[in-house]
Symmetry: C2
Subunit: 212 residues, 2 copies
């Protein structure tokens, strides 16, 4: 009798990570989440989120930087976080945000049609925007960004022009909100929700202990 | 020559802690902040805050539990926190909040006129409300609460009836907002602001290192 090595335990559910390309706290989280999850044997699935839809329209809030008291606190907190973690930001949180829709739609398209390349695109795009100060609101920039992530021009051109991308992003947003996701960054570990980059230590602990 | 032992280093600035009696996350923080600060040789000064003024009026937000998506997340987060830290709550976050004004005014009065007893009152009142389910909106309850904290009936009757208490609370609120304080719990360590019970680990680290 030989041991059937084809029988292996099922892969654990990936950690889900939602972010908006315009969110600097999402960018900070994006720099840590994969390494953190990998220490627990988990993959991470990156999802686009438009906080202009969740926060402004669905939740009915005003932009956080325009909220009295909270706006100044958030500016201070971001500066403290990037100082502590050594994150380099090429743009200020107070610069007018770019339009994140083209990049979010391209990511939604890649998640469906080129899932093995979606994260590399998102990582490169996020880094280009926040570490290099490049706006991502033009298809040509996204194609170039994809090239830097090793994605063919052909695939990126489809990702940035296929009309299906809008519907795929809407489906991503609907699925996110159905799970209670509203902000950037947001994480889900086996269905357990965590909001904010400050929750990464708790995510780590949850992955270690399986809850409490 | 003898060493002049009367010359001692100046006491470090206390940690400042703002909370609203209606805030369960503030209550959770109140159970940890003094022990945490004491490990660093710090006292804690407790301050009343009315989030109905800061959050609803000044910031222009709606009550958090009535905010789509965020409300459900906050309910979940509180349940997770109390489970993790073994906090017993006698009331639900969804019960209609009591009127925190009488207790907040009494605390503001005690901070001015009986500063050595103010914290004992606040601790007892917070515990009565969240661990025993007692509403604190009647002067008689506050007098009783003060008695449990070792404060004389005479002092508590003045704290709950002196018209100056309203002005003292307004001054506390103005001073808090001038420092950027808006939520419960909120901490300040040597002027460095921290919002939320989740920040206690960072407060601990900041006290250890003196910033970063």
């Amino acid at each position: 009798m030989t041991l059937d090595t084809s029988i292996r335990p099922p892969s654990p559910e990936p950690v889900h990570f939602w972010f908006d390309f315009i969110s600097p706290f999402g960018y900070c989280a994006s720099l840590r989440i994969d390494e953190l999850a990998a220490r627990h044997g988990r993959e991470v699935c990156w999802h686009p989120l438009l906080i202009g839809v969740t926060v402004l329209k669905v939740m009915g809030l005003k932009p956080i930087l325009q909220t009295p008291l909270k706006g100044d606190y958030v500016r201070h907190e971001l500066a403290r976080y990037v100082r502590r973690h050594g994150v380099q930001l090429a743009r200020s949180i107070d610069q007018p945000p770019m339009n994140p829709l083209p990049a979010a739609r391209a990511l939604a398209w890649l998640l469906r049609h080129a899932p093995g390349q979606a994260k590399a695109f998102a990582q490169c795009a996020y880094r280009m925007h926040w570490a290099q100060g490049v706006d991502l609101d033009q298809a040509a920039v996204l194609v170039d960004c994809g090239a830097q992530a090793g994605i063919s021009t052909d695939v990126m051109q489809r990702a940035t022009t296929d009309p299906e991308a809008a519907a795929l992003l809407r489906a991503e947003m609907d699925a996110a909100m159905a799970r209670g996701v509203f902000g950037s960054p947001f994480f889900s570990v086996d269905g357990e929700p965590f909001f904010g980059v400050d929750k990464l230590e708790l995510v780590d602990e949850w992955l270690s202990r399986g809850g409490w």
